[in-house]
Symmetry: C2
Subunit: 236 residues, 2 copies
Amino acid sequence: MRRADFKRKTRVIVVDDNYDHASGIRELINLEQDYEVIANAGNVNVAISLIKKYQPDIVLMDINMPETDGITAISEIEKLGLKTRIIALTGYDEADLIYRAMKIGAKGYILKTMASAQLIRALDEVSMGKIYLPSVLCSKFFEYFQAAERNEKAYNATDDEENLLNYLTNREEEVLGLLTEGITYKGVAQQLFISETTVKTHVNNIFQKLQVNDRTQAVLYAINKGFSAKKKAKIA
Amino acid sequence: MRRADFKRKTRVIVVDDNYDHASGIRELINLEQDYEVIANAGNVNVAISLIKKYQPDIVLMDINMPETDGITAISEIEKLGLKTRIIALTGYDEADLIYRAMKIGAKGYILKTMASAQLIRALDEVSMGKIYLPSVLCSKFFEYFQAAERNEKAYNATDDEENLLNYLTNREEEVLGLLTEGITYKGVAQQLFISETTVKTHVNNIFQKLQVNDRTQAVLYAINKGFSAKKKAKIA
DNA sequence: CGTTTTCTAAATCTTAAGATCTAGTTCTTA
DNA sequence: TAAGAACTAGATCTTAAGATTTAGAAAACG
């Protein structure tokens, strides 16, 4: 008696607006002894209520659907907080779709054009709690991911030149740090154990260095340039 | 005459503080006809100057090094803006290291314990401009990536309840929007074509609704809650 | 139709904020 | 050792900010 005979089958729901395609997948999966397709859904709303009802182990979600897009659907399903794992399914290997799907919590991504063996492998991997992303798609993902990170950086690319924060002294940074917490002169003075007039001196110097006119502008400048009130803990 | 005879070999620099290990890799790579190790570096500083000098096609970077860590090193190298591609190398498959390395631009990630064939495959893939991440590491990456995204969401999950911004009227939102640009009462009055005293009234109401004492705190609150000065264009 | 918001605005008052100048101490560095 | 930068702080002055009260007009609402 084999082990598998004891095991409950892994329950799958297929979401695809193309009925023929959904049926194809269903048959394919039902050939496997470890899996059973317990329902099909032609649109997102039906899918979500079915998922709520049956709480399947895995959802195969077609992303290229009219009406509500599949990405939003994944997001909705993830919000339910079930143990259900989602595998995304598309016709094309668009980098941004792969990125977005994985970002919001898909556990796998496969193309419809891929061999059926890939689908089964994806089910195997994902049902074991792993991520399944074929290397071609993995590459696509990282192209997009790294480009996104580069843009993020470029946006905050305040690092070297033209970052007026670099001209601040340590003490001025400390003071600015407190300003970015919305503290008054008096409060800053108390926290740093210096007089209020000293704080004013520092703040005025900060204004000049940052080329701003008041504390709000200074705080905004600091935040936009990624000032993080670091260096606070200074072991004397 | 084979095509490969014409091709310039792909130039590799190995960065590893363990000399024996670096030598091992060097020999391994030099067995391949398509690759040549043009230099070794035992620490990050040497590595960077060598990379600047030779501009290799690929850098094999050990992450587990004393002194400067390899992650920072990758970051530094990426900043140079060369066409050099970096493959990270570690002894263990720590998810956060994989995540951080890939995030800052590594094109591949392999473990020292992996077979030498993997190393060569990584070189092949990466030199062709692709990403190389073995499926085990790919899974690790996504574990971390998706967890990070979930936390990001949870952090901004200030949306509904307890977001005092929701109590603001349209006009108040407009005024706050201008405050978050560091504009004075007078400036706001001019932009909205209302009197300065009216602006003061609005601002005071904003303070009360947001439970803050001054404009800096109001701006900070707004920014932290994801206020984006939307709804600005209001077609009358 | 009366009531409640919302937007407007004036008057008055207090104080925190910001500008400017001077100056002493300490520490670094050429 | 002299020069400069950094941190400190007092004095003085101006103005922008913020608090508070009152109130009219228009729109929304029940």
